[in-house]
Symmetry: C2
Subunit: 516 residues, 2 copies
Amino acid sequence: MSNGAHALIRTLVDARVTTCFTNPGTTELFLVEAMDSVPEMRTVLTLFEGVATGAADGYARMCGAPASTLLHLGPGLANGLANLHNARRAKIPLVNIVGDHARDHLRHDPPLRSDIETVARSVSSWVRTSREVGELAQDTAEAVRVACGPPAQVATLIVPADLTWAEGTAPALPPTASPQPTVPSDLIESAAERLRGSSRTAILLGGGALSERGVTAAGRIAATTGSRLLAERTAPRIERGAGLPVVERMPYWPELVSAHLDGLEHLILADAGPPVSFFAYAGQESSLVPAGCEVHHLTTPSCDVAMNLEALATVLGAAAIPAVQQPVRPTRPIGPLTAETVSQAIGALLPEGAIVADETLTSGGALARDTAGGPRHTWLPVAGGALGQGMPVAVGAAIACPERPVLALEGDGAALYSVQSLWTMARERLDVTVIVFNNRAYRIISTEFSRHGKEIGDKARLVSDLGDPNLDFVAIGTGFGVPSLRVEDAEQLADSLERAIREPGPHLIEAVIPAV
Amino acid sequence: MSNGAHALIRTLVDARVTTCFTNPGTTELFLVEAMDSVPEMRTVLTLFEGVATGAADGYARMCGAPASTLLHLGPGLANGLANLHNARRAKIPLVNIVGDHARDHLRHDPPLRSDIETVARSVSSWVRTSREVGELAQDTAEAVRVACGPPAQVATLIVPADLTWAEGTAPALPPTASPQPTVPSDLIESAAERLRGSSRTAILLGGGALSERGVTAAGRIAATTGSRLLAERTAPRIERGAGLPVVERMPYWPELVSAHLDGLEHLILADAGPPVSFFAYAGQESSLVPAGCEVHHLTTPSCDVAMNLEALATVLGAAAIPAVQQPVRPTRPIGPLTAETVSQAIGALLPEGAIVADETLTSGGALARDTAGGPRHTWLPVAGGALGQGMPVAVGAAIACPERPVLALEGDGAALYSVQSLWTMARERLDVTVIVFNNRAYRIISTEFSRHGKEIGDKARLVSDLGDPNLDFVAIGTGFGVPSLRVEDAEQLADSLERAIREPGPHLIEAVIPAV
């Protein structure tokens, strides 16, 4: 028998949730103490909760299994909410443990009392406040079970402090294995029929369809049927590089998506949603499904999409070996720094097995092309659209895969939402190289003004200009303990990137580029 | 007639909401554009939404009238939520404008779709999503009316993007003046009776009771009756210094509060809540009202507490002039940097009319004493307990009161939750001096471990130690564009502080102190 805190932490570890990203406070003291008696639990401190939740997301994207967070009351959860939105949208398994005041304390309305369940509900389909110490371990096991899915999701367990210190309970058994995924033969047959009947077909891959198994099966299908393979823009993880089938990532701007999909007769969704514009524009369609194109689903929420793609390949009698990307890299760039030369340097030097957390927006346009034929790597895009996830996701990925080099590609604006990530990279000696594409602007704002056919007035300029004063990312990185430098041209960037990749531990490289 | 965006911004300005703290995105473009056609609206860009909401809080604390925020979708609101918790707890008037997707766009489930109303509801008693362009201006006026109270509160208006670009509407009339506050003579008579009947009385002042009018009236009551005057620890704003009545600020630790209140027969709450421990401890009472002490309320939510205190003074026949604090300051410190010498330097040099945003926790113990007899100043404490409000509140206060010097006193841990504030200080050339009490620890965590009688194990040490690697606040401040320096001893601190106060614009001073 033990106290509630120990039972909770032991239950997590027994359920193979062995990493906890945290920024704890007084209500979580007993849970922190319990981690000392459960040495299998790795505890990672963050200076801001958005780092913790984003890191748990990145960890799960790489492991396929949840990490936990440990957050302090409603405000701590609130600080982590934007990255939980991203995890929710991307169907990432994640277990939040949120400390609350002792139950009797709440009726005295202490300052930090808040409606934690409501905050949690906006991002978690499963929210529970434990009621009895005897139920705490079981609630924890249930949170893990729900988080793992299918479908995977964000589960939030709220733990009154008095349950953590109450004695006389025991850990719960780990959740039983997830149910066997179903293989919906009707959906597979129907997709096969479309693929046989028309060459103007595309398969839009999302979620697990972009795993090595998924893209390999999709590549076999494409080789047999001539269908195109597309990757959902907000897919949380894409396996790519030389030796894997080529999958085109969907563009960001709606008119480019429309041009891309023009003429399709059938669009098969493999764990993806129908294409939609990120934002609405007055007088334009939100849906980007071409007129006359039929949309088919290959999966249900309880499916393993890679398994479905393999079944589809079999039904189609697809060749065992798909057409794959050949190795090809851009040359090492020379000359001035631009978004293109930075992208080129990354393509030229991308190391084997790299994990790339990509939070570039307007500056990242050439990255997909420049890295497509590089060595095998994993791409971690901005999943749910909320900024501030790139560096936290890199933290989590680096902790999940300590043997793999991690790159975090950041726009200057995006980098600042959870800039505190840098300190956790330094503390944990994570092998992350952060490259800041610093165009000294929220460039997306002025771009959108132009797209709406608007003049950029003084206030629009004010809210899109990050150049007064200039942000000095070298100073900021140094301040958080990460060796940082600013490069002046493409040669220096390539040299610095090569060195940063070679040396263990975190590095930050700032590349000031024109805001074209 | 104009579009919805223009009608909204014009309605805000007509209702005297003339400052907008923002971090906008594509869904707020038309609102940004509208600000250009309404020059009375001051637009302040922040790099993180917690800065925007905290600045709106600080602005309202100083002006007594709301600012607005302009936030991007659910994740933008989420990033500002912790400081909205603080504003909610402190009954600060604040109007959030949150952009949402165009209504028709939502049914396509775009990536950034989220349940904004649920997020908003956790901190706002008034939440509305506008439904028609013709109602947008009226909804805006209603948000301002509700925010202003009484009681003042956080109001959140969610604005679908298509309403901002729809044409054919007009601004709404500003809300009518707030209802006259009621003066509850029964509560005043009952308080007077207790004050006449026993000298073992105290008045606990919160909210508006700590305004100049409130403390002056309370001082007259105290001088006549011998009752003690206490300030609620989480009160959002305290007027103090030489020439005002002395009000003792309540201590943080529950046993100190109990010692402080021991022997009281009557406690009169003037816009304050009954004393409660910040956190619960196993086996200890949460309520800190002494046994046998009767609690009386002097106000209802629709009262003006300063008016009630004046009425109470009149009923008691109190002298017109209260006993006041005499001018007295600590001497300029010498020797090594400690929490005490830093506090002493602040006390020695506090400028006339200073606004002090105080987010020190374990390091700030001597500040109240060291500044009590300084020149007249305004203290802005941590109001709702969620960290990350000190520097944002300083930003808002400096914008509200450009002629007054602002100090932001920060613990190292607290400073990092919304460190992006520094950039807005630099951009807006705000006269803020940030002093970081850097003890390289979340000292509160290890203190709480000791208080619970616990050994500090490896994981507890890990989550309370900020010294691996050391945070370099000079580099961080410089990176965000604020002139920053580290001082080595108390003399240097005093010299630097004097210079920072004298020079306009922001400064940051880092004082590394022992974590005792």
